[in-house]
């Protein structure tokens, strides 16, 4: 924990302000967050409210909490504090009194949440309550009329309902945390009596790890793609030596472990995680297993890229990143061979290389304990991503069989639908600003609440575009934010998801914006390009569209004619 004091925060480019509001002594969480944030490049600032001060901090609009103005707030109340005397003596009162108390507690919690939302733009993570394994009524607890355990379950259910209605509020399942690690480990009576510590400090790092799950997607640090080795990773043995019938997959104990691992990978794919292969093998040997082995859960259609060859694995990983247009920092790599693991760690430290043990029965557990695939909202685009990538492969095939790029673009029958920000598109617009690194003029990151605010401002335009072509729907892949003045519009944000770059879509959308400004009698459009490590794909965009550099900004004089690409169809909703 002392490590946190020595961290050189100034080198880190992403910033995060975290508030922690505990109802008991929760030392160590702050320090652990600090270390974990630094490890992934976040400059961490924190405010830890005094012991059991959460009520005052939330209810007083002038509190230190609000003047700190956090980005994310963790409100961690324990069940003993919430229920007070009733925690020990739930059966000293009637079931209808228990019901009444639960109602009161829920309305207290709801009030805290709503007051917090009113006073602060921060995301709020509130922990739910752990269900004690003990009950004074013993075995017949489950037969009790609205018993002790029913009380806590009811509070947890209602808390989840409140969070479902509030987009910036999330419930952290602390009850599940306790059942994962065990009540007897988490709650140490000695620490409780000596220091009112309700989470034993051996388990604080695990709690911090869980809670970091909320932080990563907020800052766009979540992983999008899993790259997998084949031999001894997706199946046991080496197909080149043991041959098709000799590999372990399905029947044996080890074989079952690989099937289980694949099933979990498939479930992540269904949630929008991209899968790819990086394997040293003869392509024919390996693809035969993928296509024909009866116990293969993952099929060819699930893989967005198949790098099966004898090339260097680091080179293959870079090729996957380029082919799929996703940053190396978004990739998790699974390979059973420690030499390969070390090689990738050295060569491409941005990739998260998983330390796999020899025993495949551990693979699934390791995959499930990775806390890097979380998103804070799930859009239609996320769920369709797997399919979209296989459509992308078909597009590449058409591109390779067509002679000129113009012919290719014409054959695609691209349709660009411009949409306004509304309750359906706002989550996706925010997500695009958080995740898009490459084709992004200004790389400004906005949470959902920011986009809601902009879209209700009459001096701003917030929009996005949905792209379709003959192979399918790519979903909403562009977003733009414009500040309006009578004489001049300023482009605050203009970005395009990398998977649709290079099809003239960006030109069509900018020409729509230019025409729109011209029709409203505006003279000029001002834009900015803020270079980052990753956004060079957008660098030439403004000059190519006819913007001219004046005093450090890119200006488009609307007296000039506006070019519109003719290979695609533009619709405005």
């Amino acid at each position: 924990m002392t490590l946190s004091k020595n961290l050189d925060d100034l080198k880190l480019d992403k910033k995060l302000k975290v508030a922690i509001l505990p109802s008991f002594t929760l030392n160590g969480l702050d320090e652990t967050f600090h270390v974990k944030c630094s490890e992934i490049g976040i400059r961490y600032q924190s405010y830890v409210a005094g012991y059991n001060q959460y009520n005052q901090e939330i209810l007083d609009p002038k509190s230190k909490l609000y003047s700190f103005s956090p980005d994310i707030t963790f409100l961690i109340i324990d069940i003993r504090t919430l229920l007070n005397e009733i925690f020990h003596h739930p059966y000293s009162i009637s079931s209808s009194e228990r019901k009444k108390i639960v109602k009161e507690k829920i309305s207290e919690l709801r009030n805290l949440i709503l007051q917090f939302k009113k006073n602060c733009g921060s995301k709020l993570i509130i922990s739910n309550f752990s269900l004690p394994s003990y009950s004074p009524s013993g075995l017949i607890e489950t037969k009790s009329e609205f018993g002790f355990h029913d009380m806590i379950s009811e509070i947890n259910q209602e808390l989840s309902k409140i969070a479902k209605d509030e987009s910036s509020v999330y419930v952290y399942n602390f009850n599940q945390f306790v059942s994962k690690f065990g009540e007897k480990n988490i709650f140490d009576y000695r620490q409780f009596f000596i220091g009112d510590i309700k989470i034993a400090f051996d388990y604080i790092p695990y709690l911090a790890n869980d809670l970091m799950g909320y932080v990563k997607p907020m800052l766009g640090l979540n992983k999008k793609c899993i790259v997998l080795d084949l031999d001894n990773t997706l199946w046991g043995g080496i197909v080149g030596e043991d041959e098709f019938d000799g590999i372990e997959l399905g029947q044996s104990s080890n074989g079952k472990a690989f099937v289980e691992f694949q099933k979990h990978l498939l479930s992540l794919w269904q949630q929008g995680i991209i899968l790819a292969i990086n394997s040293k093998n003869n392509f024919e040997d390996a693809i035969k297993v993928i296509r024909e082995h009866p116990d293969m859960v993952l099929k060819e259609e699930h893989f967005a890229s198949l790098q099966i060859n004898w090339n260097d694995k680091a080179q293959n990983l870079k090729a996957i990143s380029e082919e799929l247009n996703i940053g190396l920092g978004s990739i998790v790599y699974f390979d059973d061979d420690p030499v390969n693991q070390e090689r990738i760690k050295q060569e491409i430290p941005e990739v998260l290389t998983v330390k796999l043990p020899e025993d495949p029965s551990q693979y699934t557990d390791i995959l499930m304990s990775l806390n890097d695939f979380n998103v804070l909202q799930k859009t239609d685009e996320d769920l369709k991503r797997g399919k979209m990538y296989s459509q992308q492969r078909q597009r590449s095939e058409l591109e390779q069989s067509t002679k000129s790029i113009d012919d290719f673009l014409k054959q695609l029958n691209i349709k660009v639908k411009i949409k306004k920000a509304d309750k359906f598109t706002i989550p996706r617009i925010s997500q695009l600003t958080l995740k898009t690194n490459q084709f992004n003029l200004t790389t400004k990151r906005y949470q959902e609440e920011d986009i809601i605010k902009f879209s209700s401002d009459n001096n701003m335009i917030v929009g996005c575009a949905q792209i379709e072509d003959k192979f399918g729907d790519s979903g909403i892949t562009n977003a733009f934010i414009i500040e309006k003045n009578d004489k001049e519009w300023k482009i605050d944000t203009f970005l395009l998801s990398c998977r649709v770059i290079g099809r003239g879509i960006e030109d069509a959308i900018i020409s729509y914006i230019l025409n729109e400004a011209k029709n409203q009698g505006v003279g000029k459009i001002r834009a900015d390009f803020i270079p980052t490590k990753k956004n060079s794909p957008a660098e030439a965009f403004l000059p190519n569209c006819g913007f001219k550099k004046e005093n450090g900004y890119w200006i488009y004089d609307l007296k000039d004619s506006i070019k519109t690409p003719d290979h695609l169809l533009l619709e405005v909703e």
Binding site: T25, R190, G195, I197
Partner: protein
């Protein structure tokens, strides 16, 4: 003598071993607060494979007290 104990104390409170003696206490070691005190308990228990009672924990006022309780649990510090 007592090297293992001093190593643990030094690590938990981030102080030099040379600064630790029998009279070291929360008054002389700045980082010895109640929370770090509990971390010390945890480290001692796992390193010496013992379990302290609450009264033993709250009885500790300085390093000499720690040695006394370790002795009571059969830990030989001169090993």
């Amino acid at each position: 003598m007592s090297k293992k104990l001093y190593d643990i104390i030094s690590k938990v409170f981030s102080v030099q071993i040379s600064e630790i003696n029998d009279e070291s206490s929360p008054e002389t070691i700045e980082s010895w607060d109640s929370f770090n005190g509990l971390i010390l308990v945890d480290e001692l228990e796992s390193n010496f494979n013992i379990k302290f009672s609450i009264s033993e924990i709250i009885d500790v006022k300085n390093v000499k007290d720690i040695k006394r309780h370790l002795n009571n649990h059969g830990v030989d510090l001169d090993e």
